[in-house]
């Protein structure tokens, strides 16, 4: 229109979103970057990196690449890496792909399971390596 508002070049986002401790949100969150929650959220969250601060409270399903729980969480977590702090409370299942760390004092009740998402890929590459190895050997 009359002004340049469509700047597609600024794709990079610096910093992270923050939901303050006086905030209450009910609904879905979809974050392509990093988000920090100090308030109350009721609903599902998708993010690249999610941090639930000590005052934060979440009810819902969390899907992310990195999750840090320092506050209160009711619902399942699916993530590559999960970290639960010493004041973290989780009521729900933890499904992780790479790393799980839980500090002393954390309060968890739920299933803990390591999912191997890259299992098929890995076995394929292993197979290829094995076949290549056999070729060389013969």
């Amino acid at each position: 229109m009359f002004f340049k508002s469509d700047k597609k070049s600024q794709d990079q986002v610096h910093g992270f979103s923050h939901l303050g401790e006086n905030l209450f949100f009910e609904g879905e969150i979809d974050c392509k970057g990093e988000i920090e929650i100090a308030g109350k959220v009721k609903g599902n969250i998708k993010a690249k990196k999610l941090r639930i601060l000590e005052t934060g409270s979440i009810k819902g399903l969390v899907q992310a690449e990195n999750v840090e729980v320092l506050g209160y969480m009711v619902g399942n977590i699916e993530s590559v890496n999960i970290h639960i702090g010493n004041k973290g409370v989780v009521r729900g299942d933890l499904r992780f792909e790479s790393n799980l760390s839980i500090l002393e004092g954390a309060d968890i009740s739920g299933h803990v399971q390591k999912n191997k998402k890259e299992k098929t890929k890995r076995s394929d590459t292993d197979k290829v390596k094995y076949l290549e190895h056999n070729k060389i050997a013969s």
Binding site: M1, F2, F3, S5, V13, G15, F16, S17, H18, L19, G20, E21, N22, L23, F24, F25, E26, G27, E28, I29, D30, C31, K32, G33, I35, A38, G39, G43
Partner: protein
């Protein structure tokens, strides 16, 4: 600490914040806060209600209600406005009905 929602974030649902909230992302839902600031990349579909101040630099489709409303030059707003004090900068694109409340 006030809330900040960056442009890589999309929220679907209603927000209630007792403090100030700054939005540069996409929100589908109503927002209630003490102060609402919508930045240039912000896109809101839903009504905004603030106790003190609403500042718009992005796109809003929905009703606005606050003591003071400031529409920046990059604002695109469609909806009904209710306020005591309204400021509109040159360049704002508006499709609004506006009502000034009595003091």
């Amino acid at each position: 600490m006030p809330s900040v929602i960056l442009r890589d974030t999309k929220l679907q649902g209603n927000i209630i914040e007792k403090d100030s909230i700054t939005i540069d992302g996409i929100i589908v839902g109503d927002i209630k806060a003490e102060e609402v600031i919508i930045n240039k990349n912000g896109n809101i579909t839903g009504s905004l209600t603030a106790d003190n101040n609403i500042e718009i630099g992005g796109q809003v489709t929905g009703d606005l209600s606050s003591d003071r409303i400031h529409l920046n030059s990059s604002a695109k707003v469609r909806g009904k406005l209710s306020h005591r004090n309204l400021v509109v900068d040159e360049g704002a694109q508006l499709e609004i009905a506006s009502l000034t409340r009595k003091k």
